[in-house]
Symmetry: D2
Subunit: 390 residues, 4 copies
């Protein structure tokens, strides 16, 4: 889709406030496109910054609206933990999760107000472009998608981020923190991902010279003293961490503060992309890793052997679904239903130790469990006791 | 099998020098059994200690022989890394690997010298008892297995480890480090596992009060400064770490020293046992985790998407084979052949950072690879470059 | 458990009316055991025969009760079709399903009337003995199980089926059709399995000389003319075959008559047993194969690609659960819930052709589908049309 | 790639002699393209017909060469049986296998004689177009691929098969049997696939009115009498069927004649395509199904439980590899190596019964096996005998 096809149609812009979507807004304005910018709050920045973005567009005569999506974002973040929905068996794919929340909540809204095109600023040819396309087709069938970095005209106008930065600065528009000519950050309350020229070079170590984290301290700068926190799980759901109470935004927020302070899950990943290539990025997911460390201990003590095998199978399915953007399809919904049923018996209190980049389960008080326990030393140490169900 | 069936037959004892196998030796001597004690060196203790064990038995008129198995133990340890053969997708099962090395090399030797019974001191009803039985049937068919802690007579004589300790002290026999009335350690150059009454209690945190590690420092006591080391992989095999040279014992030894100094992989696991129950143990596998961190980065950059999927499948098969003691069967041999073929193209140099309990790949210099790389910032940052094969 | 432990306790006998459970009844009577015989009707024989069995025991002063379980048996048979819950990816395990129905419905009833022992006549050391044990532990915890062919006394009294046959004939008790000294049949409305000395010999072909089928004609004796029948599926459930109407007993009954007439699914299987050995048996499952042929066509046209992948995964899980007797455990229940959710959209009418041992889908009228269709000849034959969702 | 880019370059045509590739030849000639037609013999038609095709092109001044590929085609067909490499767990994908043989042997030959473009006539947007592209990139990197039915000019000249048929008839060129305006057949010695407008309509039954099979009789027209044949397997390879001797072409040829006579594996499939859509086709694979029936019985008796589990996993991988055209990639080669190692112990003689559409193993004489057998009636019928390894 080219800008010529967009001109004259009512467009909705997913305006994150970063360099690329700000440049998209300028590009559409230069073509006189009628565009409503939706600025979603998924916890990527302080509310004041997001309001400043809205105000700046309005000041230019461009309609803009702030939409608070922190609750669905936090709920999905907790699902990632519950289902251990990680990519390639490993990393917390918070960007893929954020795309789902944005499209699920904003695309139907755009359709409802009569917009016929959804525009976003994601990199051409990458994972996120596919995710926006797939989720838009699912949640707002009929809404066309405009991705400027597949439009030759837009690429001529902005051959790269340096040109975008010039245009944004000329326009006097604000930019979020993660926006430079040669680096980029995508954030939400669930975490952040960072890309840059040096991060892409596998031979260059990731450290304070190559990256300024969004939320996290480097482990070397984390407190000397370990910190102990308690996570409560009731009927298969995390209901509290360190006094947060049960509100999802509070749980994820508290876990994120704790994890970031101790440098938990700030790491590079050589990531397999949707089309099978690999590239390196750096990820922060302190909240998910802190909660995930507790959750793994709960799984170990709450699922019998066959239930755990089924859990692991379905967990891998859901990890792929988040990454490849089919989390809302029938297969993924069915897998989630199955896991919800399996997990409903899980209740426990887990004590975690956070220290210099690690979150580890120290102790668990299992109040209901399906995994039979067996001990040796209770018998004198030379034979195993009969299995005991808690 | 009861001691009555053993009396009068030539027995070989797998004598580790720990409490349980020392008590087994006393029990057999009390029944006048003709027993040859084989003391294998798989790196579990300094050679001098093992020689002391041999001397002590000989001094009592019991034939005893030291057998150096450090090379096959190190080779298997490197296979665990190459194949990522971990239990339940997670922990490094060094005890299961040690059992294989012992039986593969000692059981045929016992048969060859005319012994008809193999005796070992493992806990009754547990994983290791099954492992000794399965591997003996495979490597020395016809050799019977005597496991005292399934023999009611032996259990009456030694109702628990306290009774064993009394007997061993009365006899003036030496004991290895990991042997107390209420705690037990199994070690090899690949790692160590610890069990005790308090470690089995899920509600008790594991720390310096509940455990004295065999090889490792606690992360809190590890050096303040990160250490950088280099791991070389050539044609699918680790050929050097930090100047070790290619000898397997040197590689595993050097990796173990480095990892232990920084407290890498000293952790508790709520482990799913062969029969499906769970219990907690504590594990040290500093060598495997250090080498494994480098190896994962090699996998990420050396295997195309389908090769990686096949690798992960077969890796899970081999993890189960090590744990459940069928690593020498046709299915496991076939899986190993397939992975060897897949890995032969992998060559790279990985720079690792070791610090306070963590080993992380910092950089990798890929000299041959099958995974196509893709970057974004080389293009200006708003579209992905075509995939590039190294 | 020995008969001495049973004497004096109130026992419930699962009385199938075959040779082995009739001999069990004699054995218990010879020891004066208070035994209530429950004769379940799972469609294994005409009602008159089952009533005759009840009457014969009562005539000997032994309490006996007929329990109609045809509806739960038919419901489970339809579940096997819905979930394609086959063993080793292949055969219809009707015996495993029958064991579940018997224990789920009879064991709690025995407990409720104060019986403390459940006795059954299954072969010692085989699959069914394990199934009765596992399901009894699940559905009636606390009810002990007595299996005579693991009791040395019973084995001395009846060293084999020839001795049982003599005793039953001496006692004048009736026997069901599948009961000889050297052959045995297990049947239900879902099918039948046959075992005998010659059937166990892999080198002997299975034909009219070695086997008299329970329900089925040999394909060579089936009608010359193919028969066309229609199967209706609505919202994921089979609701009719050939005018049967929606009653499960009617559906399975009608499908069974049709399939048996045409010799559908009368075949030998070299079956992998629970402990991993293999042996040959012969199976009849005409109802399941006829319905299954229709069902596969429904799956192909009703599930999108990812849903089908998930279906196949969970189907394999449930096939194992039926065979290994954990169909009522949490993991299996969760898998069934997930599949129920996936299948709810499947609605279609399938035309089947039955002929000389085969049931094939000839045509399908898909009224609702999730699998996008694509055709070539509609475009002139040299390019594929865009996918169309029904 | 458009014909304008092809003009002036030396082109190689994969000339099957069917409607589409004959029209491709006409189209290239109309543009004066220098094209060498390679007519491969993969057993799709009598040699005389293939020679007639070669002669017809030469008579028009177009260079054409007959290339005998029956041996590699038969070897690959036997691999499909050995690995049970079927699509979606079910059908014998002989078309996918044929594409591999063609490109592996013809594309490097074209490169070697200086051709820079490979042209083929496959349907636009379908599986085979993807297969030709993938295999050409693998076996002849640098050779461009011209697919006319993605070229708008060619589609204007030939909007469909009717237009092609007119042009071919006008040109007086011969056509193979499977070539009509509204139907198409792809064949090799391993089988045949049929597509047509009516076959694509799921609501129309497949029978003698809708399809004329290439090789097979309809079961209703097959002999009344069953036929018994013997298949020999030695060291993991089929070495004879019914006196064929060990030549692969002879084995596949003899198996095909037998199967076709009895109507074995002539059936429709609602096939999941590479992109996830479904459509119906009709397939003949008499040779593969006859040999496959024997092979399955060999697997059941020759692989222990874990080996069979690994076999099934890798077999599924290879079924996908054949369908999706990555059979020559590292992952597939590794899977084949692993299965070759597993199968080397399999040796047996299987007696098959062929009758009216079915091929069934009647008996097997196992001369070497890894699967432990267990029988019941040898013990008197009330307990299982200890497992016996052959």
């Amino acid at each position: 889709m080219y800008v010529e096809n967009v001109a004259g149609r009512p467009v909705g812009v997913l305006q994150g406030g970063g360099l690329s979507s700000t440049a998209l807004g300028i590009w559409l304005a230069e073509h006189g496109v009628d565009a409503h910018h939706l600025v979603a709050d998924i916890g990527q920045a302080p509310a004041a910054e997001l309001e400043a973005t809205v105000s700046a567009w309005r000041a230019r005569g461009v309609p803009a609206t702030l939409v608070d999506l922190r609750t669905p974002m936090a709920e999905l973040a907790l699902d990632l933990v519950r289902y251990q929905a990680r990519h390639d068996g490993g990393y917390w794919n918070t960007t893929g999760a954020g795309r789902l929340v944005l499209v699920e909540h904003l695309a139907p809204r755009l359709l409802a107000e009569g917009r016929t095109v959804l525009a976003h600023g994601c990199v051409g040819g990458g994972n996120d472009q596919r995710r926006f396309a797939r989720y838009t087709a699912r949640f707002a069938p009929g809404l066309d998608v405009y991705a400027p970095w597949t439009d030759p005209g837009a690429l001529r106008r902005f051959p790269g981020r340096a040109a975008m930065l010039d245009a944004v600065q000329d326009a006097g528009l604000p930019l979020d923190e993660g926006s430079g000519a040669d680096w980029s950050t995508d954030a939400s309350l669930a975490g952040a991902s960072h890309e840059s020229a040096s991060l892409e070079d596998l031979a260059v170590p990731v450290d304070a010279r190559s990256l300024r984290p969004r939320w996290s301290r480097w482990p070397a700068g984390a407190p000397d003293e370990p910190q102990t926190v308690t996570v409560t799980v009731a009927a298969g759901r995390i209901t509290d961490i360190d006094g947060s109470g049960p509100d999802p935004v509070a749980i994820v927020g508290r876990a994120g503060e704790l994890g970031a302070r101790h440098g938990v899950w700030l790491r590079d990943v050589v990531e397999r992309r949707i089309i099978g290539t690999v590239c390196r990025g750096v990820y922060e997911a302190p909240a998910l890793e802190v909660l995930g460390a507790a959750w793994l201990r709960v799984l170990q003590t709450s699922l019998d052997q066959r239930s755990r095998a089924l859990y692991d199978q379905l967990s891998a399915t859901l990890g792929a679904a988040v990454y490849e953007a089919w989390y809302a399809e029938a297969a993924a919904r069915s897998a989630r239903d199955a896991l919800d049923a399996l997990l409903v018996r899980a209740s426990a209190t887990v004590t975690l130790t956070l220290h210099r980049g690690t979150a580890r389960a120290a102790a668990v008080d299992v109040t209901a469990s399906g995994a039979p326990q067996q001990t040796r030393f209770g018998t004198g140490g030379n034979r195993w006791r009969e299995p005991v169900a808690v």
